[in-house]
């Protein structure tokens, strides 16, 4: 039994027929080709599949697609569409070597963007707490903390000018 749902993914509105049991991750990836959504555990433990649904981070692997019907979804692919310059957070990740294999990066960026949006003055501890749901196995998190700090400070400098 297939149900039609409507999703606005990175600004593109689309209607797709889904099985009730299909996860949002499966639909985004296998139906809509948004492979920037990575699945590493499928059980909500690791955060690799983190997207934003109506502005709030969510795990696409443990969210049924039908639950997102009518929602606006933001993925890493929406942060800097092809041709556009990198989002400041993405630029900070490059500058601070905050990724090695990159499999966790999409989810990390989604969580970090929400964190800085909600707490522009986030302390180091708040940055760590905000990203505690995102596992990384390559970097030991060092570059990631520096990158979020850098993006935080650059945003605040921008504010100050």
């Amino acid at each position: 039994m297939m149900l039609p749902i409507t999703l606005t993914v990175d600004g593109a509105r689309t209607t797709v027929e889904v099985e009730p049991r299909e996860t949002l991750a499966d639909v985004l990836r296998d139906r809509l080709g948004v492979y920037g959504v990575r699945v590493a555990c499928g059980e909500g433990h690791c955060g690799a599949c983190t997207i934003q649904l109506d502005g709030a981070t969510a795990r696409a692997c443990t969210l049924l697609a039908v639950q997102a019907d009518g929602g606006a979804i933001r993925t890493v692919e929406g942060m800097a569409p092809t041709g556009a310059p990198l989002h400041p957070l993405q630029a900070a990740f490059v500058a601070e070597h905050a990724l090695q294999c990159g499999f966790c990066t999409a989810g990390m960026l989604m969580s970090a963007e929400e964190l800085l949006r909600e707490r522009p003055q986030a302390s180091d501890d708040e940055i760590r707490a905000g990203l505690a749901g995102n596992l990384c196995r390559c970097t030991g998190y060092q570059g990631i903390v520096r990158a979020v700090r850098r993006a935080r400070d650059e945003a605040n400098e921008g504010e100050a000018r």
Partner: protein, 844 residues
């Protein structure tokens, strides 16, 4: 970064089928029969294939060490058949016919492969495949597996003893006889694993008489050879491509039985077949690592001289000696590094590898060196406490200081900063609250040795920690290490390991001046493209942005029998590329000279006096521009002339701009030190790592940012091994660490801000003095953290003899230590009952 990377799970081919394995829920069982009728009835299911359908030659490890018994591993255990109407299967058996002819030897071993149009359909069907499991007795621990009458994992391996060997270097008996102090240090090394965020996986597609296989692998050429050996398809008709790979850390070096099964299945059904490993599937059924039982003893003189070390290293081999690396990658390699960075002249090692009904062993960062290193460093700290010597001082006295140094086990340490790195590491942490760390005030940045101070990220002197609160014990641990890195064949031989570890590379300049470097060692996030393009650009004299690296496709790259492993890329591939670039540079300058001569002749100029050097000797190539001639030439002009100008080509002996370069560097050893400060909560047993410093010396640093990234990643993986990660087989033979909810990877909140510093002792033996360093932190960080916990709790009588140091284990140890001496000490780990448990639920 933009979400545009494409891993195996993101690839789709026309008419592709999704594969799901049916895996054993039992650690040991005979397969009475497999009935796939219900599975085949589901819509979308194309086939359910078993070993009978996929005849092949089992996988075998390629290690040539006499005495090592072989345990061939089939791609699918057992045998039976069922084929959907209309589906072709090599076995040709009729649908529904079920013959049992097989045995499974560990939970998760694959017995059948379901192919369906969608992953969901394949998973639904896999649950409907009815297997007549006939559980048999099983054994999970080496001790139990060696007991008389223990169930045999392989009939042809008596006593489950895969390998046994005693080795003696120098005169260990004499050393121990002369010792004033002998420390006995047991260690139950936890079984843990790489657990990269992207699991394994592959997509095989028929291509003429051969196959194209996209695989999440570290060794495309190795996988291609294994496919040829097992499937019978000619190697030249096999093509393996490594797309983007989301981490690997050793797990993806050996060819996986599942990769062989998927290739066979694609051929059997004549359609592309894709397998994407699930997380539980990986944690349970992928090869694990480490899992050594160690009994180490250290002979020490009254003045703190390390006289000798003895160790019995028993590796839990699992059910098969896994194909490329064999189970010996743990105890056998561990034995070679028992002396570590110290001048220990007398070494005795007893090596055992014992089969059990658990998942096989695979290489994982630090391989067999990690756990014996932890045992030795724990023993060293106990000697320091017994002798009243500062632990850093005891190490300093015994570290190798003159090079080259031939270790007792035959390793030739070529250069290093053993003492300086130790001192730098101690200087980077606040050891003031550590009772026995004699160095008092933490050193400020000014006192740190110069080179550590100049390191760009040597941001701060050791930050002062506030004194520990009541109920919190603080401990400091420091460890020195040496890493046999950048293995060429010589390095492998010095580890007494049979392993062809040379490589060839290809370097070419295309007609528009673009440079292409083709290598057989893909990256899984180690920054190869950045680092190696930089080597080529520097050596060739071109801009780094004009260099492209190809490493993913066996059709486009020279054969690399070893692939990416053992921190060898910087030295073996980097060295080969540097040598190739030097030859190609000389050839480019010859072309430039010929062009300039032709132009001069065209102008009627008198030919330049014959300069003595090679043709073009007076010219130089810098950032893609040739200087020193009548005019500057661009790389593009050179390339077009070399490719297209027949008059010019007639003047040149070798006008083509293409070089292949073989390279097999001598052994080289990087070194370093790690210091850890921990707080242990006596109430909860929780261990918090407050400070962690790593000082790395990998000779000439090609790219500091990449090296720091490797150091940080390895150290944090070491932290996971010390405090969090444990596969932890339950009495039912199933891993309890079977999801990221129970197999705990370090999170950002578990990890302090690391202090990373460098010394640089270039190797006198390798090209540009480069050494490998990718595994150092994973070798030594567990020791630094374990020593810190042991130091923190020494006064409470707590001893570290098992990892990981989970809160429960710390509380249990503290309780035991506090119990009146006469109370019967509960054994450190509940003995694992061998009784057959209730049947567990299916694995999916």
């Amino acid at each position: 970064m933009r979400g545009l990377a494409r891993h195996v799970a993101d690839l789709v081919r026309p008419r592709q089928l999704e594969a799901v394995f049916v895996r054993s829920p039992h650690p040991a069982a005979r397969i009475g029969g497999i009935d796939a009728a219900a599975a085949l009835a589901l819509p979308g299911v194309a086939a359910v294939l078993t070993a009978d359908d996929l005849p092949h030659t089992p996988l075998l490890d390629s290690v040539r060490i006499d005495g090592l018994l072989k345990t061939p591993q089939p791609a699918l255990a057992g045998g039976l058949v069922a084929v959907a109407a209309g589906g072709a299967a090599a076995g040709g058996a009729a649908a529904g016919e079920g013959l049992a002819a097989g045995v499974v030897r560990f939970v998760g071993e694959p017995v059948a492969l379901v192919l369906a149009s969608t992953r969901a359909a394949a998973e639904d069907a896999a649950e409907l495949v009815a297997v007549d499991w006939q559980p048999t007795p099983f054994v999970l621990e080496p001790g139990a597996a060696r007991a008389p009458g223990a169930p045999l994992v392989h009939e042809h391996v008596p006593g489950n003893l895969l390998f046994a060997q005693a080795k003696s270097y120098g005169d260990p008996d004499g050393a121990f006889a002369a010792a004033d102090l002998v420390i006995e240090q047991p260690l139950i090394g936890n079984r843990y694993l790489a657990a990269p965020l992207e699991g394994r996986g592959c997509l095989a597609e028929p291509a003429g008489d051969g196959l194209t296989v996209w695989a999440s692998t570290m060794g495309p050429h190795l996988l291609r050879r294994r496919l040829a050996q097992t499937t019978g398809i000619a190697e030249q008709l096999l093509r393996v491509i490594a797309p983007d790979v989301g981490g690997a850390f050793g797990l993806k070096i050996p060819a996986a039985p599942e990769e062989i099964a998927v290739a066979l299945a694609a051929r059997a059904v004549g359609r592309p077949v894709r397998w994407v490993e699930g997380r539980r599937e990986q944690l349970v059924a992928a090869p694990h690592a480490k899992d050594q039982r160690i009994a180490l003893s250290l002979a020490v003189s009254g003045s703190g001289e390390l006289l000798g070390v003895r160790a019995t290293l028993t590796g839990n081999a699992g059910a098969y000696s896994f194909n490329s690396a064999s189970a010996l990658i743990e105890p056998y390699l561990g034995a070679g590094l028992l002396p570590g960075p110290y001048r220990i002249e007398h070494v005795g090692a007893e090596i055992f590898s014992v089969l059990t009904h658990t998942s096989p062993m695979s290489p994982y960062r630090g391989v067999g060196w990690t756990q014996p290193h932890t045992a030795r460093e724990l023993a060293l700290d106990r000697a320091a406490r017994a002798l009243g010597i500062d632990p850093a001082e005891l190490r300093r006295r015994n570290l190798v200081t003159s090079f080259p140094h031939r270790s007792a086990t035959g390793m030739e340490y070529d250069s290093g900063s053993y003492v300086e790195s130790l001192e730098s590491a101690v200087g980077l942490v606040d050891a003031s609250d550590a009772p026995h760390f004699a160095q008092g005030e933490p050193r400020s940045a000014q006192d740190a040795p110069a080179s550590a101070r100049d390191a760009p990220h040597f941001a701060q002197a050791a930050p002062r920690l506030d004194p520990p609160a009541p109920g919190i014990r603080r401990g400091v641990g420091v460890t020195s290490y040496v890493e046999p890195a950048g293995w060429g064949s010589d390095g492998a031989l010095q580890s007494e390991w049979s392993f062809a570890s040379h490589d060839s590379v290809r370097l070419q300049v295309d007609p528009t001046g673009g440079v292409v470097a083709a290598i057989g060692t893909p990256s899984q996030g180690q920054g190869h493209a950045t680092t190696l393009a930089q080597v080529v650009a520097d050596e060739l004299g071109v801009r780094v942005e004009d260099v492209a690296l190809i490493a993913d496709d066996t059709n486009a790259t020279p054969v690399s029998t070893a692939g990416t492993r053992a921190s060898r890329v910087a030295t073996v591939i980097g060295g080969a590329l540097a040598l190739a670039a030097r030859r190609l540079r000389a050839r480019l300058l010859e072309v430039a000279a010929a062009v300039l001569e032709a132009e001069a002749a065209g102008r009627g100029d008198a030919p330049a006096p014959g300069d003595a050097g090679p043709r073009g000797g007076a010219l130089s190539l810098i950032d893609g521009l040739v200087h020193g001639g009548a005019r500057e030439l661009t790389l593009r002009e050179l390339a077009e002339a070399a490719h297209f100008d027949p008059a010019l080509r007639a003047r040149l002996p070798e006008p083509d701009l293409l070089v292949t370069q073989f390279h097999d560097p001598p052994a080289t050893y990087s070194n370093g030190a790690i210091a850890a400060v921990v707080d242990v909560d006596l109430g909860t047993g929780g261990v918090t790592v407050r400070q962690l410093a790593v000082v790395e010396d990998c000779g000439t640093v090609l790219n500091p940012t990449v090296v720091d990234g490797q150091a940080a990643g390895a150290v944090v993986q070491g932290l996971g091994g010390a405090l969090l990660e444990d596969v932890d087989y339950g009495a039912d033979g199933r891993p309890r660490g079977d999801s990221f909810g129970s197999y705990l990877l370090p999170r950002i909140t578990d990890v302090p801000e690391l202090a990373i510093a460098h010394h640089s002792s270039p190797s006198p033996l390798t090209v540009n003095g480069v050494k490998g360093m990718g595994e150092s932190g994973a070798i030594a960080a567990p020791a630094a953290i374990a020593c810190a916990v042991a130091a923190a709790l020494a006064a409470d009588g707590f001893t570290v003899d098992r990892l990981p140091l989970t809160p429960a284990r710390v509380v249990e140890g503290l309780t035991r230590a506090a119990a009146p001496a006469n109370a019967a000490a509960a054994p450190a780990s509940a003995a694992r009952a061998a009784a057959a448990p209730p049947p567990p639920e299916p694995l999916q």
